[in-house]
């Protein structure tokens, strides 16, 4: 990457940093977070949200160059790659009791592995890592400005942020809170995913953003606790968003705005839909407007020309996401590379099968894949989680009524719980 000034001007301005942030070990404003001395260009390997937001605040205040990632993501190979790209890799290690300082910072050791390639830091640069689902994670260059996609006055809200430290969606919530006073945030750690509704109720969370898998898991575990939340805003993103989960959330929270967002490190936040319906209106295709992404579908793939894309990302980004127009809506259903299951020459869509299964009243979650088989090459199989009573024969009949013969799952496996990764996605 070419060293360059990322734009400066990203330092917190007047009133910024005044929002309340709550996470394990801290409850205060951004401004009250303990200082974290960082090199001018740092990749910070974090164990929790407190470390992550301290890194953000320190880098924002000092106009530093920053990458934040969960320690579990930073493999030895990736660390070497980051150091060779001019970033010092920073680990924070607890060293004794740090409870004396509510902002964190007492008794910790900061371990710095210096960059192995010298270059000038790029003030204000924020690096994100792609998910790496199609290979090694790539670095994508942003700034706090390019990550701040919400503009204008916002009603005061308390957000729940369950996303993985440093992910694009995590940064969306972080920049919203950092830049807009009154946008408070409760961060939850992966090990708090089972108990977050109680904590959210306690602190008055009014807005929650999560993947469809996150929502499905929450509603499966404790629907009453989720329904008790006084939510004004419900947001979904990060995975294909189907009508079943949107309808369920709209029913549970009739006075809330239910939105889904299409966003990624590379494309930026590109699509926001607030009508409670899956997909977006067909009329949006090809529509050019200042500040908005231009969307198109070519050979079944969603292409995006986004003003919020990462630096160096192709102007027209081939997203790798499958899109199809159904009844005037453009549905984004899954990855082009993994969606098609070739059953003896007939093409079954894993996403279409998944949506049919998830539309069954007793199915709370489903994942569909092809499995190697004799004669036909692959057959459709599915994992499902039930919230009610249903037998394999009943689900097969349900699918047979709605899908071509070759797309009906021939092997169904019932799971006890919804699989979820740190990314809050199922990725299966």
């Amino acid at each position: 990457m070419t060293p360059a000034t990322a734009g400066g001007g990203d330092r917190p301005g007047v009133g910024q940093g005044a929002s309340r942030v709550m996470t394990r070990g801290f409850d205060g404003t951004w401004e009250q977070l303990a200082d974290l001395p960082l090199p001018a260009a740092a990749a910070v390997s974090v164990l929790d949200n407190l470390q992550a937001i301290r890194a953000v605040w320190s880098a924002a205040r000092d106009d530093g160059e920053l990458l934040v990632a969960s320690r579990t993501r930073l493999t030895a190979e990736l660390r070497d790659e980051l150091r060779a790209a001019g970033l010092a890799v920073v680990d924070l290690t607890p060293d004794g009791d740090s409870n004396d300082d509510p902002g964190g910072g007492v008794g910790e050791r900061v371990i710095v592995a210096e960059a192995t390639a010298a270059r000038s830091p790029s003030p204000g640069r924020v690096w994100l890592l792609t998910s790496g689902s199609t290979g090694r994670p790539k670095r994508v260059a942003h700034t706090l400005d390019s990550l701040t996609t919400v503009t204008g006055a916002q009603p005061p809200r308390t957000w729940l942020c369950p996303y993985a430290h440093g992910a694009y969606a995590w940064w969306q919530v972080v920049t919203l809170s950092l830049r807009h006073p009154g946008q408070d945030v409760l961060f939850v750690e992966p090990d708090e995913l089972e108990s977050w509704p109680a904590r959210a109720l306690e602190v008055g969370v009014t807005a929650v953003s999560g993947t469809p898998t996150f929502w499905r898991q929450a509603l499966y575990r404790d629907p009453d606790a989720v329904a008790a939340l006084p939510l004004e805003q419900v947001t979904l993103g990060g995975e294909p968003v189907d009508q079943a989960i949107l309808s369920r959330l709209s029913e549970l929270f009739p006075s809330a705005r239910v939105s889904w967002i299409y966003a990624s490190s590379e494309a930026g936040a590109s699509i926001a839909v607030h009508d409670g319906q899956a997909g977006f209106p067909r009329e949006w295709l090809g529509r050019a407007a200042p500040g908005r992404a231009t969307l198109s579908v070519v050979d079944g793939e969603l292409l995006i020309e986004s003003p919020r894309r990462g630096q160096g990302v192709a102007e027209v980004l081939s997203t790798g996401d499958r899109a199809e127009v159904v009844d005037g809506r453009v549905l984004i259903t899954g990855r082009t590379a993994s969606d098609e299951i070739n059953v003896g020459g007939a093409k079954a869509s894993a996403a279409a099968v998944r949506d049919v299964l998830q539309a069954h009243p007793a199915v709370v979650w489903a994942a569909v894949r092809g499995r190697r088989a004799p004669i036909v090459g692959r057959i459709v199989t599915a994992d499902v989680v039930l919230s009610g009573e249903a037998t394999a024969a009943q689900l097969t009949a349900w699918c047979a009524d709605r899908l071509p013969d070759y797309a009906v799952p021939r092997r169904l496996r019932f799971l006890d719980q919804i699989p979820i990764k740190e990314s809050l996605k199922s990725d299966v």
């Binding site: 004799p374 013969d405 021939r410």
Partner: protein
């Protein structure tokens, strides 16, 4: 690796047919086309065998010759487990 007997495979084949609302014939020489046992059913049966013995089968191992009768199906899956 555990293997399934011919009778066990036959019982599984009956389950696959039953799921399609069809009946397993008493005669192993019954023609597959006549009883409505199709390629997808055959594939499903092979995967049921895989799941039961908890082993991946090498579907390329035995010669996939003409499979026309119930007996051919049972022969093939017996061979597959032995491969």
């Amino acid at each position: 690796m555990s293997t399934l007997s011919r009778d066990q495979i036959r019982a599984m084949m009956a389950e696959v047919l039953a799921a399609q609302g069809k009946q397993m014939p008493g005669d192993d020489q019954a023609n597959l086309e006549e009883i409505g046992f199709r390629s997808l059913d055959f594939s499903e049966l092979a995967l049921r065998v895989e799941d039961e013995i908890d082993e991946e089968l090498n579907f390329d191992a035995p010669q996939l010759r003409q499979i026309a009768t119930v007996s051919d199906v049972l022969d093939f899956l017996e061979q597959l487990q032995a491969a």
